[in-house]
């Protein structure tokens, strides 16, 4: 089952030109517990091509949100950037199996 089928929404956005932040809105405490428990940070690192030690992770029970921030794979707006607002990256997390 895809992660996206278990949660309300996965969103990614620029956090300034050099970072992208991914918010997984789990919705229920049960979904949060499952995502928080099963989602391996290493898999997010692999899917986004980020060294594990650069991934910042916040599991926020009050909001039922798992938040992951990574340095942008390419700096926003530079020649190799394909996604100016960093919004497409969320689908990699949405479509991963948990």
């Amino acid at each position: 089952m895809r992660l996206g089928d278990k949660v309300l929404k996965v969103r990614s956005k620029n956090a300034g030109p050099f970072w992208i932040t991914i918010d997984i809105f789990c919705g229920t405490p049960e979904a949060f517990a499952e995502v928080s428990g099963k989602l391996e940070t290493q898999r997010v690192a692999d899917l986004t091509g980020t060294p594990l030690q650069l991934v910042k992770r916040f599991d926020i029970a009050d909001l039922r949100v798992v938040k992951l921030s990574i340095p942008r794979p390419v700096v926003q707006g530079s020649r190799d950037d394909r996604d100016m607002h960093g919004a497409a990256l969320a689908v990699l997390i949405d479509e991963m199996s948990l």
Binding site: G16, R79, E95
Partner: protein
């Protein structure tokens, strides 16, 4: 004391609910503050020194805000005028303000806060060890700094307070942090520092912290122990969840927010519903630190010409990447033969729209699309060279066959000419902070009368 700040929307140019604005004005705010910019749409605005929003939209919305200001009789402040907050966009905003003042019959004092930085100032700060890289930061040196199209420093509350102290009716800021225009007055009046910065962060995107993000208008009451936030549109509610969730937005760290002179720590914040519409927040903390301002810079990293062909025939759709790879190799040889250029004098890239256009190498899904858009991007040292390469490759992008023994194919070009000159490719070239002893030493204020 309570300081009441009315925030009409997350950014000027995006629209707001006018009934909600009227309701906010009727609540007798002490100041009206709105953001005018962001780096979020990319480096072009800062590189070119131009607003990304249309002048017509900006003027139409600014007219409503100038009328609201006159009715409320309080200062109106815009942060990061004209998207990037360069000197040219502050003056662009000033010209709009002067036009409107004449049209509305308003006589006004207008303060302009300039944030643009001459390269020599940053070079000197670099030599003095006052420039520190953040993570990740591009390498910089004196020549690189001098080559930048525009450099701005992000002012904080101190610079906005200096502008407020002039007594101006309207304050047009260059680049400042998103929160500075909202937090400035509450902090000047001695409201709780943690609450001032936290409330400013919550309100800086307007009604995005409510259940109806597009309604725009937010009212924040700051006081000595925290802040209370309420959406002004009747259909919008601020709930503890909608408000606290906003700390996630465009922040790499949802608990700590760095600003000039310290950082906000919201780990101890608690959010309480006062009723169905309003949320009370207390417990956030401001942690003072060294006085630094963040720097943003954009430089031209070449000029671009693009071309797009759409492949629809299934044989080509199936073998689109193979076709593009063969075409690329062929064109590289042609460009060398006819123009004497080899990479890295220029780059030519084909992106497969419909295959992996958004994610590139990170894409992990495969399928058979109905068609594939092949976007060719040429980047070269000058527009003339990029444009010339675009014209040179044009016939082959239209007709290049996948195999040698087939009839000449023709692909779909969506327009004529097939090539588009994009002008300079700007890139962000600074992710650094600069230490200042006097916050105003890198900023300047101009006060004038209009109308």
């Amino acid at each position: 004391m309570t300081t009441r700040v009315l925030v009409p929307s997350g950014v000027l140019g995006l629209g707001f609910d006018r009934a909600a604005l009227s309701r906010g004005v009727a609540m007798k705010p002490d100041i009206i503050a709105i953001d005018g910019g962001s780096t979020d749409s990319g480096p072009w605005s800062l590189g070119a020194g131009q607003s990304k929003y249309s002048r017509a939209a900006t003027k139409a919305e600014w007219r409503h805000l100038m009328q609201a200001r006159a009715e409320a009789g309080v200062p109106l402040v815009i942060g990061t005028s004209g998207t990037c907050g360069a000197d040219a966009t502050v003056d662009w905003m000033y010209a709009i303000t002067a036009e409107l003042a004449a049209e509305l019959g308003q006589k006004l004092t207008v303060a302009r806060l300039y944030s643009q930085q001459p390269a020599r100032r940053i070079v000197q700060a670099l030599e003095e060890g006052r420039v520190t890289p953040l993570t990740p930061a591009p390498e910089i040196d004196a020549d690189g700094l001098r080559a930048m199209a525009n450099i701005v420093a992000l002012g904080g509350v101190e610079q906005v307070q200096a502008a407020l102290a002039t007594g101006a009716d309207i304050i047009l800021c260059g680049r400042v942090t998103d929160t500075a225009t909202i937090a400035a007055l509450p902090l000047a009046r001695g409201e709780a520092a943690g609450g001032a910065w936290h409330g400013a962060k919550i309100a800086e995107c307007g009604a995005l912290c409510s259940t109806n993000p597009t309604s725009g208008v937010i009212l924040v009451d700051f006081d000595e122990t925290g802040f209370t936030v309420e959406a002004m549109a009747e259909t919008a509610l601020c709930t503890p969840h909608s408000v606290s969730a906003h700390m996630l937005y465009e922040n790499s760290d949802p608990f700590q927010l760095y600003e000039p002179g310290g950082y906000l720590d919201v780990r101890g914040a608690h959010y309480t519903a006062l009723d169905a519409r309003r949320v009370r927040v207390e417990g956030s903390e401001w942690v003072p630190g060294p006085y630094t301002v963040k720097l943003e810079g954009a430089r031209a990293a070449g000029y671009q010409t693009t071309i797009m062909a759409v492949l629809r025939q299934q044989h080509y759709v199936t073998h689109a990447q193979e076709w593009a790879d063969k075409l690329h190799a062929f064109l590289t040889a042609q460009i060398t033969e006819r123009m004497g250029l080899t990479p890295p004098d220029y780059t030519l890239e084909f992106r497969m729209i419909g295959v992996n256009g958004a994610l590139g190498a990170l894409e992990n899904r495969q399928g058979q699309p109905a068609e594939v858009g092949v976007l060719g991007i040429v980047t070269a040292a000058t527009q003339e060279i990029a444009s010339e390469i675009g014209k040179l490759i044009n016939p082959w992008v239209l007709h290049y066959p996948l195999t040698e023994d087939e009839e000449l194919p023709t692909f779909a070009f969506p327009y004529s000419p097939a090539t588009t000159d994009r002008g300079p490719l700007y890139e962000f070239a600074l992710n650094h902070v600069m230490a200042l002893e006097d916050p105003m030493s890198a900023f300047r204020l101009t006060v004038s009368e209009v109308g």
